[in-house]
């Protein structure tokens, strides 16, 4: 995988990237759906699944960050202008920050709302805050706002990757794809 020039991402980075992406999609869809459901067993299930997804994303995000610190990303194409390199660095840093902070904001919100998070219905997480309705409302807004910020960033991130692939004809997208062999130049 890792060629001499380090063109492609290593397998763990690729797996973690797509796993986190899938969980973000699931967590986002659950989050959007569950709040509009009438009070029902399904609603309680969705809330729990949403929280379990969030905890999983946080754990995988920590693993990703740890992996990334020990394994720098392959270099960007030499032809990329400086502003694009900077934009990529900033947006990647923000994406990492959000996948760590968003689950935390949800955990804090749940704590302030007085609902303990029990991971997979087995492992109760400590309540980080005491029950506080006003604070819970604030944290709810923070959690939602951060999620929409993530949505915008993910769209920009994906658009940039597609632009690299179809516009610039470089390997920036392909090197993160699973099951794809990097073409030789």
């Amino acid at each position: 995988m890792n060629t001499a020039r380090g063109v492609t991402y290593a397998a763990p980075a690729i797996v973690l990237h797509w796993l986190v992406f899938a969980l973000i999609c699931g967590g986002f869809a659950l989050g959007l759906t569950m709040t509009d459901l009438p009070f029902s067993p399904l609603k309680l299930k969705y809330y729990s699944w949403h929280k379990w997804t969030g905890v999983s994303i946080f754990l995988l995000a920590v693993a990703r960050a740890a992996w990334r610190l020990g394994h720098p990303a392959p270099p960007l194409p030499a032809t990329m202008p400086v502003w694009q390199r900077r934009a990529a660095a900033v947006s990647h840093a923000l994406l990492y920050a959000l996948i760590l902070v968003i689950p935390l904001s949800g955990w804090l919100y749940s704590s302030a709302a007085g609902v303990t998070t029990v991971y997979f219905g087995v492992l109760p997480l400590p309540d980080l805050l005491g029950r506080d309705k006003a604070l819970a409302e604030t944290l709810k807004s923070v959690h939602i706002t951060l999620n929409y910020t993530l949505l915008v960033l993910v769209v920009v991130h994906a658009a940039a990757a597609l632009k690299h692939h179809f516009g610039d004809h470089d390997d920036v997208l392909v090197r993160m794809l699973p099951f794809v062999k990097l073409r030789e130049k």
């Binding site: 309680l44 299930k45 809330y47 087995v122």
Partner: protein, 188 residues
């Protein structure tokens, strides 16, 4: 059935009155229940209840207790959940506004521990329950603390889709902390 319960309660009430009931300090007393939703413990409070209690720790067998809960005062600290809890599948408070417990037998277990036994009526259904409790003498009066577990489905609490115990567990713990003011007045 209902009439029998009412008569039973009246007798218990009279008995409690005769023995000289304590006055209950309501703003310091609490009746709560803890259910498990998706294995998350969720506490709710019954904000309004009335209790007639005559309890002398030295003579527990003469003790009497009758507690009546205003079920509509059930509070999960969540407006949506409260509405649902008051509705037909759960407590159906319009049809069954009251839940009652009458201690028909109380005995000492030793070491400040006691056990009360008697019918618990919720949602029109009456089942015998046993609850251990502790009594602590205070400078004025005393404090009663206890807890016991009921199975909600035995009382038809949570019908229809809510029968699913994977979402809301069948077992619900009821906890009470009752502060009694003053000693029971001696019978005159």
């Amino acid at each position: 059935m209902k009439i029998a319960t009412t008569i039973g309660l009246t007798i218990a009430l009279l008995a409690a009155g005769a023995a000289g009931a304590h006055s209950v300090v309501y703003d310091k007393s609490r009746i709560t229940c803890v259910s498990r939703q998706m294995n998350v413990p969720v506490e709710a409070v019954f904000r309004r209840f009335s209790a007639q209690i005559a309890f002398d720790p030295a003579k527990p067998e003469t003790a009497r207790a009758q507690i009546e809960i205003d079920v509509a005062s059930f509070d999960l600290d969540n407006a949506e959940a409260n509405d649902e809890a008051r509705d037909k599948p759960w407590f159906d408070v319009r049809t069954y506004p009251k839940a009652t417990f009458v201690a028909t037998a109380i005995r000492a277990l030793g070491g400040g521990k006691f056990e009360a036994r008697g019918p618990l009526t919720i949602k029109g259904k009456t089942l015998d329950v046993v609850t251990p409790f502790t009594y602590r003498d205070e400078p004025v009066g005393g404090t009663v603390d206890g807890a016991f577990t009921v199975k909600r489905l035995q009382y038809n609490i949570g019908e229809g889709a809510w029968k699913d115990t994977d979402t809301v567990a069948d077992e619900v713990q009821i906890r009470y902390h009752i502060v009694l003011a003053g000693k029971p007045a001696a019978k005159k």
